[in-house]
Amino acid sequence: MKLSAEERWDLIDRISKETVTFGAYRHTLTDAIGELTIKPLTGIPIAIAVLYGFWSLFGSFAGTLCTDGFFVKFFDGYWLPWLQQVFPGQGNWFYVIMVDAGGIESGEFVLSESSFESFGVLTSGLFLAIGVVLPAIFIFYLMLAILEDIGYMPRLAVLIDTMLHRIGLHGYAIVPTILSLGCNVPGVAATRILETKKQRFIMMTLLAIFIPCGAQIGIMEEVVPDLIGWIMLYLIIGYFIFGYILNKIVPGRAPEFLIDVPPYRRPLARNIGKKIYGRVTGFFKVALPFVLLGCVIVGILYQMGVIQWLGGVLAPIFVGWFGVPPETAGPLVAAFLRKDLAVAQLSTIEMTEYQMITSVVLVSIYFPCVATFAMMLKEGWKDLLWALAVLAVVVFVYGGLIHLIGILLGVA
């Protein structure tokens, strides 16, 4: 037999009366902290402090301590020169792809001096994967696990609900957004916690376009540390502008926020360790093959002249519409395959700061990485096609808009 909802609650009330005693509510220290972090007057400053702390720890641990402090020295000081010496066939195509594309100066082949410039699979590829991306996602997932296990995420969701409401989402959209800052793949999976198709579509599209993953942020932090703040700002502004527009044009409902706010808990070191291990290895299983394979393909396409050719064809658009120098066309085309590599390439090109900001933002919003693409396909091909259509429009419009802003500010 089945009961109606009312009958069921009625039965529960009767059972509860017999079996449960609710003692006097004890107000604990944890409750007090819980309230402080959710009341707007104290909660908003705390949230800003937490996010700022997250950001600066990320930069100082991944960029300064690990990458600059150790990996750059190791890769540039020992690994690259050693490979340049022992790897056979200097200058031939296999050497170029695996070790060093070098440069031609007055007709002579010259060796690269750093792992940022060499673009070999075993040099730039490994350096980016291990020296830049690994520390970045390690520290990201460590801090994320702590915030998650303490129980801070739902409180952040409550505080940010008002803003996300304006773009057809609600506070809980902060969860897929933050997960995407580590890797877009679990971020896209987490859109399932949103109630309607409309919300999931808006969320997925915004994630794929505007949220750079940990690997990308790590690389930006490394190669354009002074500009990354501006780049992130443009991405966040884009997230809200296009979220607002999508909310207006995508049909469907955008239901309200209703969530459970769990009590704070002390995180267990064992669980945090397990989570970091699982996520970092998961990331590398998915990403490392792509990074290395991407290096190979980009290397081959350069060797065949395909990227130069495409770059030449597209250069007028890049120069005229986006206001970036013609040399960026190659990396911008290569960004279809490897965004991280493209950012590293861009950083070696002479251009103004504003052009650098524009081109890195373009790389970020360009095209989702292959793994994200596959995940979106899993969630439905129709939504994926629409998302790609939106993406094309956004790249064109937002790229142009950033150029225009630059012109108005007199910096582009």
Partner: protein, 76 residues
């Protein structure tokens, strides 16, 4: 003296007993423990039409302002 008020209009730290929930919402909020006859306390409200945060039976729930408008509470 007891008086009825919408949950959305209650103040910080105010307590009361739920007397009415609009039909369409009843099942959804019941899952969160919010039902007619339950005592609740408002922890906080977020500014600019943000969500309302309440505690029922020791469990904290945050709900959108539009939902809070559809819940009537007898304030003690």
């Amino acid at each position: 003296m007891a008086m009825e008020r919408k949950l959305s209009e209650m103040d910080y730290d105010e307590e009361g007993t739920v007397t009415e929930i609009e039909e369409y919402l009843r099942r959804r909020v019941a899952g969160m423990g919010i039902r007619v006859g339950k005592k609740l306390r408002v922890v906080t409200k977020q500014p600019i039409k943000g969500p309302v945060d309440v505690i029922v039976d020791g469990a904290e729930t945050s709900l959108g302002l539009d939902m809070a408008e559809k819940i009537t509470v007898e304030v003690a």
